[in-house]
């Protein structure tokens, strides 16, 4: 096993599994074109071969050098202090929730709309980032929300998701009505 750790093996397995799935799926569009005989699958397959070679190269490097970085590299990105820090269950839970919350927010955009989902999202992120003072949470939420409304709705008239479910759709409609009334008032 050399200097390989479980993480190195998992990393390689993920790359190879991805390559396998992409290769198998490439048969869905494996056809020879009239204009371009190699067809649409040739380029992705060549890239998959390179992916497999690089994954094995990476495995070989770790087999030889363990978890070390390569000498002379530029723009190194790994943060060993954070990676090696002691983690409590609470810390891991917080990280997991921060990763999950944006997806919940994105999925709620269609039914709830931006105007109703955004304040809840702001509160959620601030709390998960460790802020506990209620007035700070409330104040910053209102400030960010108002700034976004002024910038994107009032100034740019951007078409943001309005929601499909009542009462969220009604809330969005009310915002749009207020915006139209405000622009009409400015026009007068």
């Amino acid at each position: 096993m050399g200097n390989l750790s479980r993480q190195h093996i998992v990393e390689t397995v993920v790359w190879l599994a991805m390559a396998a799935v992409l290769f198998v799926y490439s048969f869905e569009f494996n056809q020879s074109g009239e204009i371009y005989p190699p067809g649409p699958s040739a380029w992705p397959r060549a890239v998959i071969v390179l992916l497999v070679l690089a994954a094995f190269g990476n495995l070989y490097f770790h087999h030889k050098n363990g978890d070390s970085l390569q000498e002379g590299r530029i723009g190194l990105t790994r943060d060993d202090e954070t990676l090696n820090a002691q983690r409590s269950l609470g810390a891991n839970l917080r990280i997991g929730l921060i990763l999950l919350l944006p997806f919940v927010f994105a999925l709620s955009l269609k039914p709830m709309g931006f105007y109703s989902a955004a304040p809840l999202f702001i509160v959620g992120i601030i709390v998960l980032m460790g802020e506990r003072r209620p007035m700070a949470i409330l104040g910053i939420t209102i400030l960010i929300y108002v700034l976004l409304i002024i910038f994107f709705l009032v100034l740019l008239n951007a078409n943001l998701p309005q929601g499909t479910v009542s009462p969220f759709y009604d809330i969005s409609s009310q915002f749009l009505i207020w915006n139209t009334q405000f622009h009409n008032w400015l026009g007068k």
């Binding site: 990393e11 649409p40 190269g57 590299r73 790994r78 999925l107 992120i125 601030i126 998960l128 980032m129």
Partner: protein, 514 residues
């Protein structure tokens, strides 16, 4: 040329409404470039529908100015928050962000202001003088085989930037190229890796991917640091660089201008490769290579000079050939079409006034970076005082709006957050975000040009008559003309870079840093 430039300047500054548009574009480009989570592309995409009501010269000038000032504005977020405004600012973050962490944010931003202005003004001047002859040369000598060779060379260079090992650099680039294959293939239009999602037929939109990989993954990374208690707030400083410090980097500035202009002029490549190549060359020529990536001023200077030097050059393929060099110049094509104009050689004949208003506006916009940029920078540096838990939701929401407005699809928001998680996981494992992004951009360009190039060479790329060996381009020197196979030389350069990096990886020794 001077007469045309003066006429363009007069046309620009004689109409109050045109002046108003110019000022709005200068400030808007800088602000959108500087606000974390949005970019000049967001601004350009939002205002595009409204520019139909403007005069053609005003509309095209508006986007050209946003391009110049937005390219600089993206450096501010790259330096302060490790969030490049766009891909061309990615190498700026390599040394700019460590400088911020070392309490040298003012010095990094100050040099970015100065070098962006120098690079942009130099590029604008060369652009005005050389547009026609260079365009004529490129039209007859740069085609798909040469562009593919340049993409290959660019990807080989990109793999050596970022990533803790050469293999991780390559895996990042390859993953980017793979992402670029999603959607219709560039020759036959066959759907690939769409998994029956109709919205994926047009491919994965670039803006959500870049927002996810840089803005969202940065928020996740900082959130993890806060959760495990290793978060360090960036230090605040306003110590701008001294003239002597910048004068010491004059060679790097000159080299970056040349690289920026060379890369910017080639269709489909633009400022991104310019910034990466310039950064890579700065490292290659440096005696203290290990200092790069840890807060070296030369890294910021090289990247920022080159990407702004590419803005003027990028207008040449757009105006002379009708080929956009990047996302913003692609939006400009749409602006041309909205006014029933077609970018290409005919514009020089049909609308010379428009061309010179745009050229003059780009010159003055780059010069204004020097003055407005310094004023704005002082204001933006105060953003560092805001605690990250309050900045994080703002960044995520701005990114959400930016991703959504790209095509009006919630799918793009999901793609952005997915890219954010992928970026977060890859970054903590030592992969290169910049390499990944460059892979996405250049992969698409590379495939199309590879296929077209192979057709042009009758699928015999190494044939003496029709292949790379036979594709000789004339280069006029002082007393003679030499003929060089540009594409072949670029391919050989890419192969040497690739072979050298693989050799280095096989003989690699562990770094003292670990």
């Amino acid at each position: 040329m001077i007469d045309n430039f003066l006429a363009g300047t007069q046309a620009l500054f004689s109409d109050p409404f045109t002046i108003f548009i110019f000022i709005c574009a200068v400030i808007g480009g800088m602000l959108f470039g500087a606000i974390p989570g949005v970019s000049m592309l967001t601004l350009a995409a939002i205002i595009l529908p409204f520019t139909g009501a403007l005069e053609p010269a005003q509309a095209i000038m508006l986007f050209a100015v946003i391009y110049c000032t937005g390219t600089y504005g993206g450096a501010i977020t790259a330096i302060l928050f490790n969030i490049p405004g766009s891909a061309e600012n990615a190498p700026t973050a390599f040394d700019g962000y460590p400088m911020t962490q070392n309490g040298q944010a003012g010095k990094a931003v100050g040099s970015a202001v100065l070098c962006s202005a120098i690079g942009g003004v130099a590029s604008a001047l060369v652009m005005m003088a050389a547009t026609e002859p260079i365009a004529n040369w490129a039209i007859s000598n740069i085609a798909a085989p040469e562009i593919f060779a340049l993409v290959f060379f660019g990807l080989a260079v990109a793999s050596s930037v970022g990533g803790n090992t050469i293999w991780k650099g390559w895996l990042s680039v390859i993953l980017g190229v793979m992402i670029g294959t999603v959607g219709q293939d560039p020759i036959d239009g066959v759907n690939r890796y769409t998994f029956d999602f109709v919205d994926l037929a047009a491919g994965i939109a670039f803006v959500p991917v870049i927002l996810g990989l840089f803005a969202v993954s940065e928020v996740f990374t900082q959130a993890e640091k806060k959760a495990v208690g290793t978060y360090n707030a960036p230090k605040f400083s306003l110590n701008f660089p001294k003239f002597a410090e910048l004068w010491r980097e004059k060679v790097a500035v000159l080299r970056s201008i040349l690289i920026g202009f060379f890369c910017g002029i080639l269709p489909g490549i633009g400022a991104t490769l310019a910034a990466f190549m310039s950064y890579g060359e700065a490292v290659r020529w440096s005696k203290n290579k290990e200092e790069f990536g840890r807060g070296k001023l030369e890294g910021v200077i090289s990247s920022e000079t080159a990407n702004n030097a590419a803005t003027g050059a990028a207008m040449i393929p757009l105006l002379a050939l009708g080929l956009p060099g990047g996302a913003l110049t692609a939006i400009m094509v749409a602006a041309f079409e909205m006014h029933d104009l077609e970018p290409g050689p005919l514009v020089f004949w049909n609308s010379p006034d428009l061309i010179w208003v745009v050229f003059a506006a780009m010159f003055w916009a780059n010069l204004s970076i020097l003055f407005i940029g310094l004023l704005e920078t002082k204001t933006i540096l105060y953003l560092l005082k805001i605690p990250f838990q309050f900045l994080a939701p703002l960044i995520l929401l701005l990114a959400t709006v930016g991703a959504y407005l790209t095509r009006g699809l919630v799918l793009d928001v999901l793609v952005m957050f997915t890219a954010g998680i992928v970026g977060f996981l890859l970054r903590r494992s030592g992969y290169s975000m910049a390499g990944l992004v460059l892979g996405v951009i250049l992969g698409k360009v590379g495939e199309g040009n590879y296929a077209r190039g192979m057709q042009m060479m009758h699928f015999e790329p190494f044939s003496v008559s029709t292949g790379y060996f036979g594709r000789l381009a004339p280069i006029d020197l002082a007393f003679t003309t030499i003929y060089l196979p540009i594409g072949l030389l670029l391919l050989i350069g890419g192969l040497i870079t690739l072979a050298a990096s693989v050799w280095a990886a096989l003989r690699a020794r562990p770094s003292q840093m670990s």
